[in-house]
């Protein structure tokens, strides 16, 4: 399965490019899907350690608001992406120092609490954040090049795709490094890790910071694509959505989040178009079906299709 992962990745990327050429609105949906996929990489990393963050929308929203706030001053997509990544990483370090002490439900709920506090702040600090009206993000230059709207949208799509591939490869390396292997140790028997002299909290913290960074990058890309940010990005259901995508995709390889995100966005569009007032039910039912009948998610399915040698 691991061998065919790169091939699958290239195929998926090619399919996305073809679809984006075919239909401009799909390009938009797919850029969002890529952005969410990048954010979900972080969820997957924490899942490897057996921890569920029910509050990672915090970093997505933070990245998005970094873009919205700094865009007038730091008017370049590349710089803003870097700023969002660094900002989210610092925030992740700060919060991570606190939450990495906790496990399971406490870990999940503390993250949820942080995320909801951020949501409330976005609503409360109305004069800075414009509350639920949100902040508009204008088309911005990319790496110093002023672009028209269509070229800009292509550029962001391209950046998202490149980042998805790049971050996917990096995380794959990370997971197979000793640090990554130790993550899995936290899930099975944390005490054993410590007997071996591996500081579990440090391992989890580093994964947490990485997950915050990719969350921030995902959020920045969402802001650059939808070009309007609102506090809803940080609501608890948005966090649930990220976990949803992670499970839909399957927690196996780094491709899972992208499979999951693409499937999630497409199901949602399809459901919204066909049954505008019951899209939630369709999404929920789709997830139930995957969990009950296709454990391992889409990635697991892909694995079985590719010769039944899933993890």
């Amino acid at each position: 399965m691991r061998k065919i992962e790169p091939i699958l990745a290239v195929l998926l990327a090619a399919a996305m490019i073809a679809a984006a050429i075919a239909a401009p609105w799909l390009r938009f949906v797919l850029t969002i899907a890529l952005a969410k996929g990048i954010a979900v990489l972080g969820i997957m990393l924490l899942l490897r350690a057996g921890q569920v963050s029910f509050g990672h929308a915090l970093y997505v929203a933070f990245g998005a608001y970094v873009v919205a706030f700094l865009a007038p001053r730091l008017n370049d997509a590349v710089l803003l992406l870097a700023a969002a990544a660094v900002g989210a990483g610092l925030l992740g370090l700060l919060i991570g120092l606190f939450v990495a002490r906790y496990r399971q439900i406490f870990f999940g709920m503390l993250n949820l609490a942080m995320c909801m506090v951020f949501y409330s702040l976005l609503e409360k600090l109305y004069h800075i954040t414009r509350g639920s009206d949100g902040i508009r993000v204008e088309v911005m230059p990319v790496a110093g090049q002023a672009l028209d709207r269509v070229a800009y949208e292509w550029a962001i799509f391209g950046i998202a795709l490149a980042l998805a591939l790049g971050l996917g490869i990096l995380l794959r390396l990370y997971l197979s490094s000793p640090m990554g292997e130790a993550l899995a140790g936290i899930k099975t028997r944390e005490t054993r890790l410590e007997f071996m002299g591996v500081p579990a909290r440090g391992v989890l913290l580093s994964a947490y910071v990485i997950s915050a960074v990719v969350g921030g990058i995902g959020g920045a890309l969402i802001a650059m694509t939808s070009r309007h940010v609102t506090p809803l990005l940080s609501y608890w259901t948005a966090s649930g959505e990220l976990v949803f995508i992670a499970i839909l995709g399957g927690a196996g390889g780094v491709l899972g989040p992208f499979l999951g995100a693409a499937a999630y966005e497409l199901i949602r569009v399809y459901a919204a178009a066909s049954f505008a007032d019951a899209w939630q039910m369709i999404l929920g039912a789709a997830l139930l079906l995957v969990i009950l009948f296709a454990p391992g998610g889409l990635w697991g399915m892909a694995g079985r299709l590719a010769g039944g040698r899933g993890r």
Binding site: A18, A19, A22, A23, P24, W25, L26, F28, V29, I32, S120, E123, K124, Y126, R130, G131, S132, D133, G134, R136, R149, I222, T225, S226, R227, H228, V229, T230, L232, L233, A238, E265, L266, R268, V269, Y270, A272, A273, S274, F275, A276, D277, W279, Q280
Partner: protein, 434 residues
């Protein structure tokens, strides 16, 4: 179900047939077989109390219009999209509707956040966009839009009219408390009210500013505090379930005997409140379309819309239904004007949008003019809650009408700046009893 089937097919075509250019706006204008309207509205979540009735009204009116031959001989087809999932989804849906479904006009949205996010798309995609319900003043005060028009009033007149009514009928108020939902409309509508009140009647003391969480189901603590403070006036622009909950908890504890409520968005919650709405408090409807309007401009049309809605859905229409109807009537007037300008030819997107600038279209109650900046001027009627035999719920009495032009900020001025220029004389000049 046939509609959703074809929509599904259209979507399948979007995924499947790969190399079909989907942008229609660049092609020479041809008379379409049907005029598709993309409608964004809340179909889930707390704001679906507005969204679902508006959708019903839209379907009803479109059916009636199609039975009468459509607009300019073309039948209409609305395609609905839920606003609730959030901006990133909605912006994507807007694009899908324009670029893949090929809608000819967009009707958006209930939430101001949605409007602020989507209105720029009207320019990018060059598609006529009618803002059918959202109230934020920022849209037309901070930008100029060639393709976007709002076919109803907005926050400023909707807040100013009840304030003027209050100051006309109770000139001696000294203290006031506000309890609004904690989101943009709750904050905006307070800022507008405060600016206008400080200009029109300086010296009114604000004894409490409370913004409970959006979606709260318990206001007893806030009510206790208000009972202890005894402000002369309690101002709240809350709506939906929260307003119902607040009024019921407050009246049960006799808060309405200590303070006068000013509720500019009350109308939509009055049917749900029924007889438990207290009498003698100031209520608004975000416009002039009260079910007991004493002198509608076109009584037959008004009665036929209200009765058809009641017969079909077994409930009274609320203001979002009227706002949706206004958008459709505006579309009819604008499209017919554009077709007439081309001597029966079909207008391009730009020509269609141009027809709306300065357009005056009739509503059952009055007329609405779309100003130079795209903002509609809708009259506001405010009154005191009361009961009569015709309605199983509260309706206004001692109504006053404030013409839209009088209570809206002039073109090119920001509302908060304009409100600060008002003087106490304005109270007497504004509005008239009806």
């Amino acid at each position: 179900m046939t509609a959703s089937l074809t929509r599904r097919e259209a979507l399948a075509a979007g995924f499947g047939t790969v190399l079909l250019p989907a942008t229609l706006s660049a092609q020479p204008a041809q008379k379409p077989a049907e005029f598709k309207i993309g409608v964004t509205t809340f179909l889930s979540g707390p704001a679906s109390v507005f969204g679902v009735p508006s959708r019903k009204a839209c379907e009803l009116l479109v059916e009636q219009m199609n039975a009468a031959g459509g607009i300019a001989g073309v039948p209409l087809r609305p395609i609905f999209v839920d606003e609730a999932p959030g901006t990133d989804h909605l912006v994507g849906e807007f694009r899908r509707l324009v670029q893949s479904e090929g809608v000819h006009a967009m009707f958006q949205s209930i939430s101001s956040g949605s409007c602020l996010a989507c209105t720029p798309l009207s320019r990018e995609l060059q598609k006529l966009t009618i803002l059918w319900d959202c109230g934020t003043q920022r849209i037309f005060e901070e930008n100029r839009w060639d393709y976007a028009f709002r076919t109803q009033g907005y926050g400023t007149p909707e807040v100013l009219a009840p304030l003027l009514y209050l100051l006309k009928t109770k000139p001696n108020i000294r203290t006031l408390a506000v309890i609004n939902q904690d989101y943009a409309w709750g904050r905006d509508s307070w800022e507008l009210w405060k600016a206008a009140m400080d200009a029109l009647k300086p010296g009114v003391r604000v004894v409490a500013e409370m913004f409970p969480r959006f979606g709260s189901t318990d206001f007893s603590t806030e009510i206790t505090r208000l009972l202890a403070l005894r402000p002369d006036v309690i101002y709240s622009t809350s709506w939906g379930g929260e307003l119902v909950t607040f009024v019921r908890q407050a009246t049960e504890r006799r808060l309405h005997e200590r303070s006068t409520f000013v509720l500019p968005v009350a109308e939509a919650s009055l049917p749900a409140l029924g007889r438990s709405m207290p009498e003698g408090h100031i209520i608004g409807t975000r416009g002039d379309h009260w079910n007991n309007h004493p002198a509608p401009a076109n009584p037959q049309l008004f009665a036929s819309f209200v009765n058809a809605y009641r017969q079909r859905f077994n409930e009274w229409p609320i203001y979002p239904c009227h706002h949706m109807a206004q958008a459709l009537w505006a579309l009819k007037a604008g499209l017919e004007k554009a077709v007439a300008a081309k001597n029966g030819g079909w207008p391009s997107d730009a020509e269609l949008a141009n027809a709306f600038r300065g357009l005056t279209f009739p509503t059952p109650t009055s007329t609405i003019t779309l100003r130079e900046d795209g903002q509609g001027l809708e009259d506001q009627i405010v009154g005191l809650s009361s009961f009569n035999e015709r309605f199983p719920f509260s309706v206004p009495k001692e109504m006053m009408l404030f013409p839209g032009a009088q209570v809206s900020a002039p073109v090119g001025q920001k509302s908060t700046d304009w409100l600060k220029t008002l003087t106490p004389d304005f109270i007497q000049q504004a509005g008239r009893s009806i």
